[in-house]
């Protein structure tokens, strides 16, 4: 895939990661205590792996986000940018060279076709002479 499409994909990936991060954290967050007057939020005896997830997931998701951002930076650094005028100049140069080379090619082609015709005529003559040497009975 070309680099601009890769960059666009990377931007979309970052948006998706941010979305998933916030969505997961909001969904899985344990209830929080709002004021000292309210009683403690009832902590259901959650299984060990759930608490592990709640601790591990933010770390994994944030590392994924940061890695995606780093990849975006490396892709941006790899952009082969050059000025517009430089490109237009190069295009004009290449067009001129293309014309010259095209004319040369056409010249060669015509000369080759000419030689081919000559060779064919010679071959026809030779073949005729060969055949005429055999006296018809």
């Amino acid at each position: 895939m070309d680099i601009i499409s890769q960059l666009q994909e990377q931007v979309n990936t970052m948006a998706l990661l941010a979305l998933n991060t916030f969505g997961t954290l909001q969904r899985d967050a344990p209830p929080v205590r709002l004021s000292p007057n309210y009683p403690e939020p009832a902590t259901n005896p959650s299984s060990a792996e759930e608490t592990l997830d709640i601790v591990e997931q933010p770390k994994m998701m944030s590392t994924a986000l940061v890695q995606a951002a780093k990849k975006f930076d490396t892709l941006v650094a790899a952009l082969p940018l050059s000025g517009e005028e430089a490109q237009l100049k190069r295009i004009a140069e290449l067009q001129a060279e293309n014309e010259v080379v095209g004319l040369e090619l056409q010249k060669q082609l015509e000369a080759a076709e000419q030689e081919l015709k000559q060779a064919q005529e010679l071959f026809n003559l030779a073949a005729d002479n060969c055949l005429n040497l055999k006296k018809p009975d």
């Binding site: 070309d2 951002a69 975006f72 952009l79």
Partner: protein, 184 residues
């Protein structure tokens, strides 16, 4: 295809009768209409033939990166005074900072998320707009690549033809010598 209940498609326009004698006399039939210029309506929506990327202001989105100095130059060239790499990396940093801010706001003042989310989406829109405005540059680069390849192919063909011609000459000389050898 169209059932009895739905409306059928309109019949084709009756211009086909004008082309009855086209095979005998190509001049008797009318010319095709010229290509459309400017804007045209299609199925109720207007489209334009001038394919240019609309600026962010046209879409009502604030532009976060600086434009080139506008001293009466066209949009396209003013865009190329934008240092794309620098702007893209700084927008990336802004994005990360805003994501962190959103996380903080959600912890402390959860009801004020809307402004932060708007900022993040603004950054994304700017990012995509910058990337889209790189496409004309990519198109020119592709054109350069195609021209270079075509020149190389033509040169290759020239070399090929030269070689074959020399080969043919050599064969003819050889065969001439052989024939002379035979007759002599």
């Amino acid at each position: 295809m169209a059932t009895g209940t739905s409306s059928s498609y309109p019949p084709p326009p009756p211009y086909y009768r004008l082309y009855k004698d086209y095979l005998e006399d190509p001049e008797s039939a009318p010319e095709p209409p010229p290509p459309v210029q400017g804007t045209y309506p299609l199925f109720g929506a207007t489209y334009t033939t001038d394919v240019v990327l609309p600026t962010l202001e046209d879409q009502g989105v604030r532009q976060l990166y600086p434009k080139g100095p506008s001293i009466g130059i066209t949009y396209a060239s003013s865009l190329f005074l934008v240092d794309f790499k620098r702007e893209l990396t700084s927008l990336n940093r802004e994005l990360q900072l805003h994501i962190l801010e959103l996380a903080d706001v959600l912890v402390e003042r959860p009801s004020q998320y809307a402004r932060r989310v708007e900022d993040i989406s603004l950054i994304f829109k700017n990012l995509h707009h910058l990337l889209n405005s790189l496409r004309p540059h990519q198109a020119r680069a592709t054109l350069i690549h195609i021209l270079e390849r075509q020149i190389q192919q033509r040169k290759q063909a020239i070399e090929d033809i030269k070689r074959r011609r020399e080969e043919a000459q050599r064969l003819l000389k050889e065969s001439l010598q052989n024939l002379d050898g035979h007759l002599a």
